[in-house]
Amino acid sequence: MLVKRKGSHFMKRILFLLSLSGLLLLLSGCWDRQEVNDLAIVTAAAIDKKGDNQVELSVQVFVPKSLGGGGGQGGGSEGGGTGKTTLVISQKGVNVAEALSMVQSELPRKVFWGQCKVFIFGEKAAKEGIQDHVDFLLRHPQPRERADVFVSEGKAKRLLELQTLLERDVSEAIREQAKLGVGMKVTLQDLGEMLASEAQAAALPYLKIVTEKSEEVSYQFVKNFATAVFKNDQMIGQISQRKTRGLLWLKNEVKDYTVTVKPKDTKGGISLNPISVHLDLIPQIQGEKWKMVVKVQTEGSVIQNGTNLDLNNPKSLKMIEKVYEEDIKKYIESTIGQVQHKLKADIVDFAKEFHRKYPEQWKQAEHRWEEVFPEVKVNIYVDANIQRQGNINESERRREEKR
């Protein structure tokens, strides 16, 4: 009797363990099981206009074989898999979704968007409006809100086909460059916010292919060149590289950037790197007059001094700071001038600032913001400080003169 009971207890345990291990089968996710080697990982996508009503979607797909899977160091020298790390496939369709299904039909693996961090709109597509395409990108569960969005000169597909030397592929190169803060950096989330904003304007970084030629080789690379300006969802123009810098000041996105100023009455110039930037946009409404006060506070360090000025002398330091301020102001002014009077698109989002501070007045101006915006008077105040002067404390030119 006792033995029998013990036996059933043992059987119970075995059954329990068996049923527990049965649960392991569920861990793979069953229907949604996706193996990495069944995925075509998209690293960048380009959307172009083709013909009248067609959209061309090009995807850059990562080729895992190219990394010499497990081959290690040897792979590089023999150039395994002819060295191409990516593959570009493009197809046409009525919209992005349809083009995507056509792309899928050409690939043996399932298209996977989760790693796609670069979306590029061709100029023509941008000019005709991007709302439609953005709907797909925001609705589809896979593309990331943090992916960067760009506009390219001409066809965007050409960019994807470029070879890169420094980075693994073009998408990486574009993204890393955007991160450095040379030009604007706009994520998909930012774009969605801009398109929904009251300013009814958006700005995206504008890419261009540049060719570097030496005697033996010519090398093409992508440059974060300028800024594409959108009104509603249509591209209406662009801001030059120079003026993009002014825009970076206004958007508080200045990062890697060198200012070279030439003080009066001296030879040569002096170069500064802004270290920290603080920006205040203060809207003011006096009677019928709308005014925007832009206050920039920045600290910089000297990286090259070609003048004979002594930075240890407070007087000349003040003088340089003054010139530095003037220079920043000039940049911002020229950008604002173009944005306000030529493009008439509120890409700096003054609308938001006015709305937040003056909700009452905003309500009346809301629907005619397009007319109000160019009339807004902009006052710019720059306060610049020079904090550091690098490893030497006297300029070479000055030393020479002293001798």
Partner: protein, 366 residues
């Protein structure tokens, strides 16, 4: 029938995920649709319903300390009317449980497991809850206690990691279009806070009944604060686009990115959501089963766990053809439906009960 006891702290830990789990995912989007930048006010206004509901539940409990609402409504209204009301409550809870399990599964299928048939997810969740319910109230309470940190810590972590992406100015100007928009948002949200009425099924089984009211109120406050914070965080990051997102909290969690590799944290949201949904569904399921057994005057509730489970699965499909229909129900029908059955009807019950007691004591003394 139920011999287990739980502490009032366990009750709080049971109620908190029950209210918050489903709310944090979709509420920022829903309230933003109405209230725009004032969305953080809606939970504060809606929490009034929570306080009132807990108060009504506690007062009713004081009058009939050993019984649940299914039992004492017969004493208040008479047997026939009491049974009809009991049926209404049970119908509400079966339907709501089915509805919330469907909402849970829609999120999983729509965001993560695209190809998995939705019935697989619904059935597996119901099955899991059935096991928990089979264990009784004590087990459900313990499970909630066990999962509480797993539920709360990731949410706090998520919020902390998002701080660099905050744009605090997004909430300005405050109350631009008056108080009405946040009130509209609060009306939708009040359906969630009305769910605090579940607490009436737990009061009789508390080991420390005196603290019941206190912990109930604390739970309302904490749930309200959580929703305010989550609404704010989402709006700080997403701005006006919050209103167009179905699951804003998930979008926000995907936005976290540190050092190029610490990113794509939406799986945290999924884990939190599954745990929360499990606690919520288990509690609803338990209440339904217990109530039905009491309604039918059974001696044990365990035999009807399976039949009720089948009903719950059925209700998660009936009259809900799509996610859009599900959302429309949340927006249009549920606020009124939830408020009516869980706050207004109990309020009438309480009024009648008080009047009856007065009459009784009045006739006794005279």
């Amino acid at each position: 029938m139920e011999k287990g006891k739980i502490s009032s702290l366990q009750m709080a830990m049971l109620m908190y995920p029950t209210i918050v789990a489903t709310a944090i995912l979709s509420v920022p989007g829903i309230t933003a649709t109405y209230a725009k930048q004032d969305l953080w006010l809606s939970p504060i206004l809606a929490s009034l319903i929570g306080f009132v509901t807990v108060y009504i539940a506690y007062k009713l409990h004081k009058l009939y300390p050993e019984q649940t609402v299914i039992q004492f409504s017969e004493q208040i209204l008479g047997q026939f009317a009491g049974k009809v009301l009991g049926f209404l409550f049970l119908f509400f809870y079966i339907q709501t449980t089915g509805h919330m399990i469907r909402a849970y599964s829609e999120f999983i299928v729509g965001s993560f497991l695209f190809k998995t048939p939705i019935s697989a997810i619904i059935v597996s969740m119901t099955l899991l809850c059935a096991f928990a319910v089979h264990g009784g109230l004590e087990v459900v309470g313990r499970v909630a206690q066990l999962f509480f940190p797993v539920f709360v810590i990731p949410i706090i972590l998520l919020i902390l990691l998002l701080i660099p992406d905050f744009e605090i100015g997004n909430i300005l100007p405050i109350l631009e279009r008056g108080i009405m928009p946040p009130i509209k948002g609060a009306i939708v949200l009040s359906g969630w806070f009305a769910e605090f009425f579940l607490i009436i099924f737990l009061f009789p089984f508390l080991s420390d009944r005196r603290k019941g009211m206190k912990y109930g109120m604390i739970t309302v406050v904490v749930a309200m604060m959580t929703l305010v914070v989550v609404n704010l965080v989402v709006f700080f990051v997403l701005g006006i686009t919050t209103a167009s997102q179905n699951y804003p909290l998930m979008n926000v969690s995907r936005y976290i990115s540190y050092a190029d590799f610490f990113e794509n944290l939406e799986s945290i949201v999924m884990a939190v959501w599954i745990i929360g949904a499990f606690v919520k569904a288990s509690l609803f399921y338990y209440v339904t089963v217990l109530g039905t057994a009491q309604w039918l005057n059974l001696s044990d509730y365990r035999p009807i766990i399976w039949p009720i489970g089948i009903l719950i699965v059925q209700f998660s499909f009936w009259s809900l053809p799509s996610t859009m229909a599900l959302a429309r129900f949340d927006f249009e029908a549920f606020p009124l439906w939830g408020l009516l059955t869980q706050t207004l009807i109990p309020l009438f019950l309480l009024l009648i009960a008080v009047a009856r007691k007065r009459k009784q004591t009045g006739s006794k003394t005279s």
